[in-house]
């Protein structure tokens, strides 16, 4: 069944190529971790948006049927055989794809990675959805935007040793002076367990009766904190914000426990990856440390020493757009 689906996907790719490709169209392949995942379907939507803007671009949205590196290697080999102009990939493995992608680059194909990167030797550049400083700033901004008079905020993190969360919290603390009147009263850890996060959130509300916001830069924590706020009857008094997924946070937005939260926007990500792949393949921009590459309506990305760039601030979700995104990812 699985191999049948794979066959269909490959056949569809070929069919698409035979049907619509004209000689001068640039063909950009958007290779995702697996087909049928809402997040990547949304990225494909963004890629089509970019193609529509550019005009002479054809998007080949493809990927394996399950999230394996082997499946992606097969897909890439088939794309090399089709002589596409560019491959933009969200990789299932950092290293396993390098030899195949090197082969693609030797054939003159532009290769970039986005979302989930490959090792530097396997791609020309990597596009991160955001960067640690941008995330650290955003989670504090989300809380501060709802507190014009200032107020007390607390952080509910994952575990004490979670690398990502610790970096984001550090970055957040660095920008605290830019938000006068906002006091960070405590940082607690819910270990990414629903029950412990819930209890920690309850504890925060008890220890700090004047608490105005809980910032949870972790998807389990933010959901649990929102539930704790609802159960404590403090909706409207304590705003839960941070990083979460729209599908998981829809209930919290609906109940009002969370006014807004952030995470990458997959549509923008697919759009930006396509724009970058186009500019690189066309030769308008070059991927080198310090270089800037155009991303259409999203401005420009600046590459660091690893040829890695950050797209933008995390995208903010609130009651105005949650319904559109909760079905996507």
């Amino acid at each position: 069944m699985k191999s049948f689906a794979k066959l269909l996907a490959t056949a569809a790719t070929f069919g698409l190529m035979a049907g619509t490709a004209s000689a001068e169209d640039m063909r950009i392949a958007l290779v995702v971790k697996a087909l049928g995942i809402g997040f990547f379907e949304a990225a494909a939507k963004g890629a089509e948006e970019a193609a529509g803007e550019l005009g002479d671009v054809e998007i080949i949205y493809t990927g394996p049927t399950d999230t394996t590196a082997e499946g992606q290697i097969e897909v890439i080999n088939s794309l090399i055989a089709q002589r596409v102009d560019a491959i933009a990939i969200s990789a299932n493995d950092t290293d396993a794809l390098v030899p195949t992608l090197k082969k693609a680059m030797q054939r003159g194909i532009t290769v970039i990675s986005w979302d989930s990167g490959v090792a530097p030797e396997g791609r020309q550049m990597h596009l991160n959805p955001s960067s640690n400083p941008l995330i650290g700033n955003m989670i504090l901004k989300l809380a501060a935007d709802n507190l014009p008079e200032g107020g007390d905020v607390a952080v509910l993190s994952a575990t004490t040793t979670s690398t990502n969360q610790n970096i984001w919290i550090d970055e957040m603390k660095k920008v605290m002076p830019e938000y006068p009147g906002i006091n960070l009263v405590a940082t607690v850890y819910g270990d990414d367990l629903a029950d412990k996060s819930y209890r920690e959130a309850q504890g925060l509300m008890q220890s700090y009766p004047d608490l105005d916001a809980i910032i949870a830069p972790t998807s389990v924590g933010i959901v649990a904190a929102a539930q704790a706020v609802v159960d404590a009857g403090k909706v409207g008094e304590v705003n839960v914000t941070g990083l979460g997924l729209p599908s998981e946070m829809a209930g919290a937005i609906e109940s009002g426990a969370s006014k807004s939260f952030a995470i990458w926007n997959p549509i923008d990500l697919g759009y930006a990856a396509t724009m970058i792949a186009y500019n690189l393949a066309k030769g308008d921009d070059e991927a080198a440390p310090g270089a800037t590459i155009g991303m259409g309506r999203l401005g420009e990305v600046t590459l660091d020493d690893d040829n890695t760039g950050a797209m933008a601030d995390p995208f903010v979700y609130d009651s105005s757009n949650i319904d559109e995104f909760k079905g996507i990812f």
Binding site: L193, R199, Q206, A226, Q227, S247, A250
Partner: protein
């Protein structure tokens, strides 16, 4: 018997002392409202500890309770997304049935194939977690996908306590009756304290162990629904590692891992002891790095008490045997 009595009074004293200590740092903790909240928060742990107690009494252990809870919880959550109108009573009956079925699988493997329970339940634990992944496809079931009845039921307040707490109280009373007033309850004690003697009196030890696993499974299934409804989210790793808390609650409550010794009150107090610690640590401003160490130390101290209690009992028997000789 005096040792058992001692254990329970000791636990009550320790819990009271802890509450006093916490109150000195955070007076709000000992208000009746908050104590009720702590009791409610500990309800899932108490219910699971009751089931685990029955299993441990028969010289077995059930490490699959948290996975059972998670699988049942995911199943009823998924069911709720396709049939939001299903009455909660039916959901609960289904959850208990599913949990009991999973407990029965454990029990059958232990009873009929004579596999050590720790191996059986380690295996079923991972199998259950795997099944959750298969039925959910790794996706979460989120608050907005659950019906208001489904998540609201454990929160309904009756006489000042939420239904979740009342269910725990009913479970405690029911287990108290079963353990002290029924043939099954007495068989569980007999099968655990001396399996050979139990067999001679006509008790089928394997069957008794099977029954204990079914009880544990049924209670885990019930908790599965309660847990998902309380936290309004279901995903693969829900209650990850919670089986260890359950075993710890039993051990702290004076239930002997060697089987045959333990009480319903002990299991409940053991769970409450952990529940008070879990709820107090976030408010007394202790570094998170210390929290795990404190929980761990409490378990070690309890085990040391258990071991001492067991040893002195053995010595007494030997001494009296020596005297007799």
């Amino acid at each position: 018997m005096s040792i058992l009595k001692h254990r329970e009074t000791l636990l009550v004293a320790v819990i009271a002392a802890m509450l006093a200590l916490i109150a000195s740092r955070f007076p709000g903790f000992v208000t009746p409202g908050n104590l009720a909240a702590v009791f409610t928060d500990t309800a899932p742990l108490m219910i699971l500890a009751l089931g685990q107690m029955a299993v441990i009494l028969t010289r077995c252990i059930d490490l699959s309770v948290a996975a059972n809870l998670a699988l049942t919880g995911m199943a009823v959550a998924l069911l709720n997304t396709v049939a939001p109108g299903l009455p909660v009573v039916l959901t609960i009956a289904l959850a208990i049935g599913m949990g009991a079925l999973m407990g029965a699988i454990n029990g059958l493997l232990v009873w009929k194939l004579d596999i050590p329970s720790i191996v059986v339940t380690l295996g079923t634990m991972t199998i259950f977690r795997g099944i959750i992944f298969l039925i959910s496809d790794g996706q979460w079931v989120n608050a907005h996908e659950m019906s208001a009845n489904f998540t609201g039921f454990p929160r309904i307040e009756i006489l000042g306590l939420p239904v979740l707490a009342w269910i725990a109280i009913i479970a405690i009373a029911a287990m108290g009756l079963v353990m002290s007033r029924t043939v099954l309850g007495r068989s569980i004690f007999a099968a655990g304290s001396n399996p050979h003697a139990a067999a001679y009196t006509g008790i089928d030890v394997g069957r008794t162990q099977f029954a204990a696993f079914v009880i544990s499974g049924a209670l885990a299934g019930l908790t599965g629904y309660l847990w998902i409804a309380r936290y309004a989210v279901a995903y693969v790793d829900i209650a990850g590692g919670f089986e260890l808390d359950v075993v710890a609650a039993c051990v702290i409550g004076g239930i002997s891992i060697a089987g045959g010794v333990g009480t319903v009150a002990g299991a409940v107090l053991g769970a409450l002891f952990l529940g008070v610690i879990k709820n107090a640590l976030p408010v007394v401003d202790i570094s998170p790095f210390w929290q795990l160490a404190i929980s761990g130390a409490a378990i070690l101290i309890a085990v040391a008490f258990n071991a001492r209690a067991g040893r002195s009992k053995g010595r007494v028997i030997l001494k009296s045997a020596e005297h007799a000789a």
